[in-house]
Symmetry: C2
Subunit: 370 residues, 2 copies
């Protein structure tokens, strides 16, 4: 009874159809099956046909694990985002995934929730699953966590900034572009007192957005008092808190630019609660242009950062790091542009002539118009 026993069958599920079954059925060796499946040109067309038929009949699916084990490549990409529940990220995930799948990659997603421990375990898990590369789209990450990844000489993509190393590629978002358009739009309407609700300032991308705002303002000869730059945290709750602190000020701004759309939605909500009208009393501008933005009340004027562009750049940059024959293998920086989308949450400032005329004509209505 001992010499005959071959397969111990201690596995939990019955073994699936394997390459050997196909080979037997097609009357060829497993090498030929492998070659056929991988589209190696030297296989006799006749044999290839037999193999494909056998595959069809048996419903064979190559075992990805085994393939990965022998090839050293998993064809999986890691995608790390800040918070999957921030609507911007699902949109990004969707685009990223579509592109990755089209290139034959699977995507492992993880959100850091801004927690270091969580991020660490995320990275360890992805490393262990042998992803071929990781895109860190958190718009900022703590430095020593970066180190963990960098040490592995492993294809990586960061947004905005990252160590200058051969395996690292950076997506350079041109915040200036869109934010300048936003500031100029507000200035053209007549706004002079424009506040800014930033993201969490330990994230470099949040700093970059704030700096772009300050720069655009000074280009127009406008300054922003310190108390008109409030730190938020890129959530609706943070937007509410920041807007409330702005409202409590003696000098209320006539417009507020937010570091992302969730913050802007929170600001809208805070204004609603305190019976301030948007855009009648205060104009609000967001950043990201999430799908939801156009459905806000009023529809949100916002700076669009295209998820599609971001995802395309991320996937291509990763592939450039992974695939030996990628055309842009040497490209380190991948540009992403931004632009303003004007909707209904911005208008002439309160008390100005155009605003009064508009108000009388009743053409533009903010919410809470009393």
């Amino acid at each position: 009874m001992s010499a005959l026993r071959k397969k111990p069958q201690n596995r939990l599920r019955p073994a699936a159809i394997s390459i050997r079954d196909v080979a037997r059925r097609a009357g060829v060796s497993i090498a030929t099956v492998s070659r056929t499946v991988n589209g190696i040109a030297t296989v006799d067309p006749q044999l290839a046909l037999q193999v494909w038929r056998a595959i069809e009949e048996l419903g064979y699916l190559p075992n990805t694990q085994a393939r990965a084990l022998v090839s050293g490549r998993s064809r999986m990409l890691g995608l790390i985002v800040s918070e999957i529940t921030n609507p911007f990220f699902p949109e990004l995930v969707q685009e990223f995934e579509n592109l990755a799948v089209a290139q034959g990659y699977e995507v492992l997603i993880g959100s850091t929730n801004y927690e270091t421990a969580r991020t660490e375990s995320l990275i360890r898990r992805m490393l262990q699953r042998k992803v071929d590369g990781i895109a860190v789209m958190t718009f900022g990450i703590e430095e020593d966590l970066v180190q963990k990844l960098v040490d592995r000489e492993f294809p990586l993509v960061f947004v905005d900034a990252g160590p200058n190393l051969p395996n690292i590629r950076i997506l350079k978002v041109n915040y200036g572009e869109g934010i300048r358009q936003a500031v100029q739009h507000l200035a053209a309407l007549g706004h002079r007192s424009i506040a800014f609700i930033s993201g969490p300032l330990r994230l470099r991308s949040a700093v970059a957005r704030r700096d772009a705002f300050v720069k655009s303002m000074s280009e127009l000869g406008l300054t922003t008092p310190t108390q008109h730059i409030v730190e938020g945290d890129h959530t609706m709750e943070g937007g509410i808190a920041a807007m409330e602190s702005l409202i409590s000020l003696n000098e209320l701004p006539t417009a507020v630019l937010c570091s992302n759309d969730m913050t802007a939605i929170g600001a809208l909500h805070a204004l609603y609660k305190t019976t301030h009208g948007v855009p009648r009393d205060i104009s609000v501008v967001g950043f990201d242009d999430i799908h939801l933005a156009q459905f806000m009340l009023p529809p949100l004027t916002t700076v669009q950062m295209s998820c599609k562009d971001l995802a395309v750049a991320a996937v291509e940059a990763l592939r450039a790091g992974i695939e030996r024959d990628h055309p842009k293998i040497m490209q380190k920086e991948w540009p992403v542009s931004t632009r303003l989308v004007v909707r209904r949450s911005t208008a002439f400032p309160r008390g100005t002539l155009p605003a009064l005329v508009e108000g009388a004509a009743g053409k533009r209505r903010g919410i809470n118009a009393k």
Copy 2:
């Protein structure tokens, strides 16, 4: 030069630290390393210590692919959702992922976008990656796609309905509960003419929600004319269209219950565009209670279906199908409850005495109050 060559090094990245390196460093066999890593009790504590130290020093991470190959289990769970960009799903994904990771599983996510071809490729990819089980949380899926999965005798979880087979577990959402509360809440406020915007009716869960509404209405002796039940598609755009068709009717309802929150947000938007006030003219109720719901203008009254509960049930039901020694291995149906959350988008119907009193007192403000 031929007899000596061992490692062909044709792989793309240098081979990582393997179990053999650890064994060598710790001066033990690879079996001992394996036992140590897997927490097998029979290992000598002294040796175990040496092994752990070696692991530490080398930064060894066990290769998940190899583990999966030999054990026949990948410790990956598939999670299929309808649309990752519908905010309900990221919340679900988040909860699901947290639970799965806590149990040592990784999650492969896919959204069908209601496309059959996409769903098919999704299923094939997950099968090929050898996930240990799949939770299909699309709230309805086409029957022959189900078949593809069912045939594989593979742990599966569906929502609401699915084939009665040993490997399949069903999450039974108690729609009646929350929807009855919603209808009774509206009826208590004095609403008699309540419309319903459904989801896409080819999805069984959408039908279940509509039926729960009709049943709750008839329990109160209320009927809903056919034209007051409009089919949406669980998107904001669909909610807008459905609400607009409702508005164009001769007999405008005083309240609208929606099959999900996105539909309700669309409805809010449509009402805003046509200068109808919420809740002054029309009360709106959503379903799901996504995080965003409380930040809508006005904050949305909605039926909460807890993501957490849903995720807990899904992960546990999957584990019951995967793990031989799971306590609830025989449980086929996993209940999930729903309940009403009252916010500001519902009020007394227009023209009724309480509404007039409220209006005069100015206590409750809807948007667009003119």
